[in-house]
């Protein structure tokens, strides 16, 4: 297995040396997935909060659906967005297929259910604890929802990080709607898939190292935030 050892050494050299090709890919990955996480948060968080504090017909069905959508297969999301954005599709005229924007849209669709479903759970648990007190103080639904979001902010941040992690690690959706075009829509996961099949293991492995490190850093960050918040705010 000298091939593997050599590949690791070469990969390590690429990571340590800030190889410009590798850096560009990492940067685009971060751009796309951070944008998706941000947009998905802006949609998913209010959605989750609304479902948590409102009572309406079909609510339970919506919750089950949302929970199920957390497991949405990325390739299917990619396919749907591809159909929407392709030239013959309903949104074909805006012409953003095979651009980073299309990738942001696909990843946003992928993680909105994750952020909405998990924040719904978190906010509803808090609502159960707070509802009488907030009613007693005269809080209306909207201000109660804002209070709950603020009071669960550290748990919600962990949820957003989980969403970002999911976006950064998926390959199916961005592959289909981005097209894996060198220098334009090539991100970490799609590059790993491509380079592995081409046999260029050092680049694939180097990106793998970066990706795994990123995931570890994110989880460490989430743990630290939770720990500090617990100690400081109880």
């Amino acid at each position: 297995m000298t091939g593997l050892g050599e590949a690791f050494a070469a990969a390590w050299a690429l990571v340590i040396g800030f190889d410009s090709g590798l850096a560009g890919i990492v940067l685009l990955s971060l751009q796309v997935s951070l944008s998706a996480a941000l947009i998905a948060t802006l949609i998913g968080l209010p959605l989750g909060a609304a479902i948590a504090v409102e009572r309406f017909p079909g609510r339970q069905v919506l919750i089950v659906l949302l929970n199920a959508l957390m497991g949405l297969p990325p390739v299917v999301v990619g396919l749907l967005i591809y159909l929407l954005l392709s030239r013959a599709g309903p949104l074909g005229s805006i012409g953003i297929l095979f651009t980073p924007q299309a990738m942001v849209i696909a990843q946003t669709v992928l993680i909105v259910p994750i952020i909405a479903a998990l924040s719904r759970q978190t906010i509803e648990d808090a609502w159960r604890e707070y509802s009488e007190q907030l009613h007693s103080l005269g809080a209306r639904r909207l201000s109660a929802a804002m209070t709950l979001i603020w009071d669960t902010r550290f748990s919600l941040l962990t949820i957003v990080l989980a969403g970002f992690g999911r976006a950064a690690a998926e390959v199916g959706a961005v592959m289909i709607v981005g097209g894996n075009i060198d220098g334009v829509t090539r991100v970490m996961t799609t590059t790993i898939a491509l380079e592995t099949s081409k046999g260029d293991l050092p680049l694939a492995l180097g990106l793998g190292i970066v990706l795994i490190s990123l995931v570890i850093v994110l989880n460490a960050l989430a743990a630290v935030i939770r720990e500090v918040a617990q100690r400081r705010y109880g």
Partner: protein, 236 residues
């Protein structure tokens, strides 16, 4: 906005009546204690009066209610205080701002009440790291800051040690002295005797009697109440 009139008040859930046709008139002035064994329906009665639950039968009438929201003129302290994840001061300010006060006005008022309950040193500490007794004092401060005509207290000392209980009882008396009507539930006869002016004795969702405190302990009108007093007193 007192007196508070309860008219055949009934509340049921899942086919069982938790509150069963209670009629009473609660006047301004005396500290009213809602007394009764666990499960008698004291907390539910209080939540009905405060508007957290909707009666399934009967009426609640606040006579002499001023214009607008009757909720504005009442506040409630719960058995387990719910503290927001922010400072003690911010918890009090939160209630005041919901009531429409400006930030500046709220902070001044909040500092005043925190001083009265002895928490001015803790004003900037996170509310959730305070001790149980401190949290309940903070809950009292948050409720009282709103300047309610009526303050409901639902077993406010049930989870507290004797020293904290003593603090809470003193604060309740201070609030009473300031002119706020006190309506409190307890199952503790000692506390009822220390804090009460009149007793509403509840058993099995029914009002057994409404009696001034002295007479209640000397000659309770209902058999249930005398059994409760006999059963409880040896331990107090």
């Amino acid at each position: 906005m007192l007196p508070l009139q309860l008219d055949q008040l009934t509340f049921g859930a899942g086919g069982t009546a938790i509150i069963n046709g209670i009629s009473a008139k609660i006047e301004a002035g005396p500290r009213t204690i809602i007394l009764g064994p666990n499960g008698a329906g004291k907390s539910v009665l209080m939540r009905l009066c405060h508007g957290l639950l909707t009666p399934t039968g009967g009426r609640i009438v606040w006579h002499g209610a001023r214009n607008g929201d009757v909720r504005r003129h009442q506040a409630m302290v719960f058995q387990r205080p719910v503290m927001l994840r922010r400072s003690a001061l911010a918890n009090v300010v939160y209630g005041l701002q919901l009531a429409g006060k400006s930030r500046r006005e709220s902070e001044l008022r909040a500092m005043d009440v925190l001083e009265v309950v002895g928490l001015e040193q803790q004003a900037h500490r996170p509310a959730r790291v305070l001790s149980g007794g401190e949290q309940q004092r903070l809950a009292l401060a948050r409720a009282w800051a709103l300047g309610p005509d009526v303050l409901f207290l639902d077993e406010p000392t049930a989870n507290l040690d004797p020293a904290s209980t003593h603090d809470i009882e003193n604060i309740v008396n201070t609030i009473h002295a300031s002119g706020t009507k006190i309506i409190m539930t307890t199952h503790n006869l000692g506390q009822a005797r220390r804090l009460g002016d009149e007793i509403l004795f509840i058993s099995n969702g029914r009002l057994m009697e409404q009696t001034p405190i002295d007479r209640f302990f000397k000659e309770p009108a209902s058999a249930e109440a005398s059994a409760f007093i006999k059963g409880e007193l040896p331990w107090h």
